[in-house]
Structure formats: C-alpha cells, structure tokens
Amino acid sequence: MFDLRDATVSYDGNVVLDGISLRIGLGERVALVGRSGVGKSTLLNLLFEQRRETAALVPQDPGLVRSLSVFHNVFMGRLSLNSVGYNLLNLVWPRKSEVDAVRDVLVSLELEEKLFEPAGELSGGQQQRTSVARALFRDGDALLADEPVSSVDEHQSRAVLASINAVYETTVLAMHDVDLALAYCTRIVGLDGGKIVLDAPADRMTRADLMPLYKGETPGA
C-alpha cells in the first residue's frame, strides 16, 4: 500500500529523514516509535502524500474548526465523497442519516453527548477524539495517525485504538507509548538519527527491546 524509497527530508539544512525506504502492505498495523523530534511526523506525512486521495489522517494538531459542532467536524471526513450541494445542505441542515452515522462513530469514542456542541468548547482530550472520529468516519483504505492518544487517559486510549483497529485493516500510528504500540500494532518501526534502526513484528518484541530507542542507543546492537 505504501512504498517509500530512499526518502530524504531536510529543513533548513538539518537532515530529518536520511534515505529511508519503507514498504507497508495491506493489513499491516505499523507503529512508528522513537524519541520526539526523530522524524516520525515527517515520515507519516510522506506516507500520507502517497495516498492522500484515499487514506485517512489524524494530524498531531486536531485541526478542528472551533466554531462548528462536533457533528460537522466529523462529517468533514467525508466531504470529498459527496456532492458540494449535499455538503452545503448538511452544513445548514444536517440529514438524519448522516447524524446517525456520525453518532455511531462517536459512541465507540464515548463522545456521543457532545454531538452538537461547538468543537471549541471541548477539552483537549475530547478534541483529539473528535479528530480521530473524523478519520474513522472517513472510511478510507488506510489510517495514518500522529500520536492519536497523546492527550487521552489510559482507559480511553485503549478504547480509541480498539475503535481504530475495528474500522481500519491497515494503520500507521506514530506512538510514544511503547505498551500501547505493542498491544495494538503488528509491526514496530523504530526511528533514530533520521534512519530506520528497527523493523520487526510486534509479537516478537517486548517493552525492554524498545527502551534503547529512547536512550539514543541502537537496539539489538
């Protein structure tokens, strides 16, 4: 599904990604792990560019329109699938079928009570879950998420990741929580110094195997 070959990205002379090659197939659940600033978001955005017409994205910043309701923010996930007229109709007068469909997504994220509240009045965690809901509602062929549970508590993090896995077969998640990465992904890709330093199935890894990544040492060496 994704095929990145020898990708190099630099900002202002600082090399962020240094000749990265990565193939991700249908049904894989990939966790991108590594210290902050190591290039996970950059890699995720590169992957998204490869399938921007069909993939769903949960950006690091929720990117919600604060003045619109949760319903509208989630509905935005499917704007590209509908006619403009239908979209404008729903902006002014949401159709019942769409409201029900959005509510179904919100139930799994424990957000259904906020359906018609302005997104700007939600807490940080609720905004992040709204952003996830938008990506779930998008119903694309893959989901890319940049720290989708960074402002959500432990219990809800698991619910959010379970919902993601229930909807999408193929996922790429940038994660800093190692335990969640191991529990909800099938493949772990570790980044350090702009390179992939680890790429292995999750079921053969333990928390201890991943710790060196966060200390700047190459695991397994």
């Binding site: 769903a56 704007l79 018609f116």
Partner: protein, 501 residues
C-alpha cells in the same frame, strides 16, 4: 429545528439578513433611465480606451487632490496626536471627538463653504477636523497597547512628558506611522470626493468629464488616481513629509483664485445663519414665538428629518448586508488557500480598484446609467466596502492553521475557512457599519433621498439653519449606530483592535 445554526454569530447574521430583506421591499430600487445599456456601453468603451492627452487638466486634478489630502491629513494627524494622551482621561474630549468624526468631510465642506467659499481653507479644514477626531481615538488606542515596562524603570521624578517621549512613544511609533499612512490613503479619497461640492480636486474634473461624455479622459484620471494610491509607500517617506506639507501648501496657495476671506461672512454665519429662523427674527419670547419655533421644528422633523432618517437607515442596512455578501465572495480571490499567485494577483488588482474608488464616485458612475434610485448606492457601497473587508479577511485566512488532509474547493470554503474567519469577518463588518452610514448620508447629495439630500437642498435654498439641524441629526444617528455596533461586538465577544480597516 436547525440546532447547528444556533450559534450567536449565526443568529445575529440571520437577523441582519432578514432586516435587510425587509428594507429591500420598502426601498426604491427602480432603474429610471430609459436605455441604461446604451450609456453603459459608451462608458465601458471610454474606460477601456483611457486618454492621457488632456494632461493639463489631469495633472491639475491630481496635484490638487494630493495637496488637499496631504494638508488635511497633516493637520488632522498633528491635532489627533496632541489630543491622544488626554483621550482616555476626559470623557468630554471623547464625546467631542466622536461628534466631529460623525460628520462627513463633505458636510464639513458644505459648512465651511458658507464661511470661506470653495477655498483652500475649506478643503483643508473639511478633512482635518474629522480626521483629528479619528486620529485622536486611534492614536490613544495604540498608546494603550504600549509596553509599560520601560516606563516603570524610569527614575522617580521623571516628568510625564519625558516619560511619554522616551519610554512610551518609541514603542508604538511604528504603529502610529503605519496608521497615519493608512489615513493618507483615506485622505486622498476624501480629497477626491470634495471636488463634487466645488473644490478644485478630482471629483470636480470627473464630474465635468462625465457631463460632457468624455469617458476616456475620466478613465485616465481614475487610473492616475489608483496609481497614486497604490504607490503611496514609495513616494511618501516619513522623512520627507515636511517637504510634502510645504509643497502642498504652496500648490493650494498659488492656484487659489477663489479666496476672498471676509471676516463678516464668518461672523454672520455664527451670529445669524445657523440659528433657526424663528429665533433669528424673534423680537420677544412670547407665545407667538414659541408656536412659530414649534412649527419650524415640526416641519423640519416631519418633512425632512424623519424621511431622511428612514431612507438612511434603510439604505445602510441593505448596504451592510450587501457588503457582507460581497466580502464572503471576494475574500477567497486573494487568499492563498484558494488561488495561486496568478489568480491572487488578478484578485488584488480588482480589490485595489474597488477599494480605492470612493463610494461616492462609484455611486456617481452607476447613477449615470441606472438613474437616481437606491440601486446604484447599494451596489457602490457594497462593492467598495466588500473590497476593503474582503482584502482584510483574505489576509487573515492566510494565517490560519492548515490541516494536511483538509478538503478543497467549495468544501474547504464552506467547512474549514469560512467558519474559522467568520468571527473576524463580523468584527470588521460591524466596525464598518458606522462608516457605511456616514457614506449613505452623503450619497443623498446625488439625489437619493437620504439625509444628505435634505441637507444639500436646504443649503441650495440658503436655509443654513435647517441644514445645520439636519447635520446635527445625522451626526447623532452615526453615534447611535456606533454604540449599537460596539454593543453587538461585545455581546458576540468579537475581538476588537484599533480600526485599521
């Protein structure tokens, strides 16, 4: 029913749209010319073939327009600067400033023409007085924003004047300078329009070109005017401003052929002309005096003030909503979110032309082919103000956060960008409300029955007392709209910032 449209900003907007539709039913928007399109064709052909050969007249018009603008804005800015430090401390000063800026430059000119004729003094005062009121207010707001840490570190016993010039002013000097530049742009427009009441500026020449059907010359004049406005930043250097003021003074003094300053005119104006006729002719304050004063007031109120106020409010509300609609239509054409460099450049040129042409001139042009109804006024006001706010909203939309998976085209417009800029859009629009009303009133001089029509007629009949009373009423109406606008902005918690719109 529509739960999502229940936001206060949306409710307020719908209320204003409903009111405007109601006003539109009552408004006279008939096309009264017999063959509007024939004249329109001639005009379009003329405008597409500008003729710069009438160089004497064109040069004269531009020179005078710039000279009056420079002098008017210079005096206004200096007086505003002197008043600004006291603005927040004296309520009467605030009221006085609100009052003098509520009266349009054209009305000030009509007043001063009674005293000084269409002379340089009239032109300069007509711009300087309202601009002093505006500058005092905005400079005061800018000074409030100054970082006070520097002031606090000054040694005890430092005089207030020294503290002001050393620690406060330098911090905000750049903002004041920017605002004054912006004022000069407005001053050029005001100066151009003063030509329509007899001063030797652009409007005077434009009117004579139009009346003779010289559309190519009119086109050349407007193009030169746009160029002057668009290049302000290149020709107006702060360090050279004193030279400009000096030069402008020389230009108006040398070319002035009308000034016959007579003290007697000024005395007569204040001692007699402005007082209601019954007071002037009263010999004793008996019951006959009171009943004639009552008659005078009632006639003025019922036959002029009331219909004038009604038409002014009607036109203002329609034009306000028209401005809003055009703003929402215009802002994407200068926004990086919707168009590339080429599209945006075309958009910018269009908006610069629409916002550099004063409403009065736009209305004057549209009136030539639709005749005197509210229609040309509505279009002119909406176009000019929509271009101003559209430019500001477009610029604001460039600063918004972007989402990598954002939708495109109309979906992006309707779901992402417009909801995000809507608050700022309403803030700009309500700021503009008072300005639109000021302009609505003066468009009466073109024959639309707003307050300006009755003021102009009163002056033509040499009933200065009535004209003064009507100008007073117009100013009060403006102050009322300003108060309404402020309370709505406060209620909707729209961010308020110094009015550089």
């Amino acid at each position: 029913m529509i739960r999502t449209l229940n936001a206060p900003t949306v409710r307020t907007s719908l209320g204003f749209v409903g009111l405007a539709l109601f006003c539109l039913v009552l408004a006279d928007i008939e096309v009264t010319t017999l063959d509007p399109w024939a004249e329109f064709r001639r005009m379009v052909v003329g405008f597409l073939t500008p003729d710069f050969f009438a160089i004497d007249q064109l040069g004269e018009a531009i020179l005078q327009t710039v000279a009056f603008a420079v002098l008017g804005v210079a005096f206004g800015a200096v007086f505003g600067f002197i008043l600004a430090p006291f603005f927040q401390h004296f309520a009467p000063l605030r009221w006085a400033c609100a009052f003098i800026r509520a009266i349009h430059e054209i009305f000030w000119a009509l007043i001063f023409i009674q005293m000084f004729g269409p002379s340089p003094v009239t032109g300069v005062l007509a711009i300087a007085i309202p601009y002093a009121g505006i500058c005092a207010k905005v400079y005061a707001e800018i000074l409030e924003e100054a970082d006070l840490r520097a002031v606090r570190t000054l040694p005890a016993g430092t005089s207030r004047v020294a503290a002001f010039f050393y620690a406060k002013l330098p911090d905000v000097w750049a903002y004041m300078k920017n605002y004054t530049f912006y004022r000069l742009e407005c001053g050029l427009r005001s100066s151009a329009v003063l030509g329509f009441v007899g001063l030797p500026t652009l409007g005077f020449y434009l009117e004579s070109f139009f009346s003779e059907g010289y559309y190519s010359e009119a086109s050349a004049l407007l193009i030169l005017f746009f160029l002057i406005i668009a290049t302000i930043r290149f020709w107006m250097r702060p360090k050279l401003s004193w030279l400009y003021v000096l030069g402008a003074g020389l230009v108006v003094a040398i070319t002035d052929t009308t000034s016959r300053f007579e003290w007697a005119h000024v005395v007569r104006f204040f001692a007699e002309d402005i007082w209601p006729a019954p007071i002037r002719s009263a010999e004793s304050y008996d019951s006959a005096f009171w009943s004639s004063l009552g008659d005078w007031s009632w006639t003025l109120f019922s036959t002029q003030a009331l219909p004038g106020i009604f038409a002014t409010i009607l036109l203002t509300q329609i034009a306000l909503v028209g401005t809003g609609f055009l703003t929402l239509l215009f802002y994407p054409i200068v926004s990086e979110r919707f168009f590339g460099p080429v599209g945006r450049t075309i958009g910018h040129v269009f908006l610069v032309v629409a916002r550099s042409t004063p409403e009065y001139i736009l209305a004057y042009i549209f009136l030539q082919f639709w005749g005197p109804s509210m229609l040309p006024a509505i279009i002119a006001l909406s176009l000019h103000n929509g271009a101003i706010i559209g430019h500001l909203v477009g610029r604001h939309s460039n600063e918004l956060e972007r989402r990598a998976d954002a939708p495109r085209g109309i979906n992006l417009y309707a779901f992402e960008v417009t909801p995000r800029v809507y608050g700022q859009f309403l803030a700009f629009l309500f700021y503009r409300w008072e300005v639109i009303m000021r302009e609505t009133a003066i468009l009466g001089i073109l024959g639309i029955y707003t307050l300006g029509f009755y003021i102009d007629s009163a002056i033509a009949d040499i009933r200065i007392d009535r004209a003064m009373a009507l100008i007073l009423i117009t100013a009060l109406l403006n102050v009322v709209v300003d108060i309404c606008s402020r309370s709505i902005r406060k209620r909707l918690r729209l961010r308020t910032s110094p009015d550089v719109a």
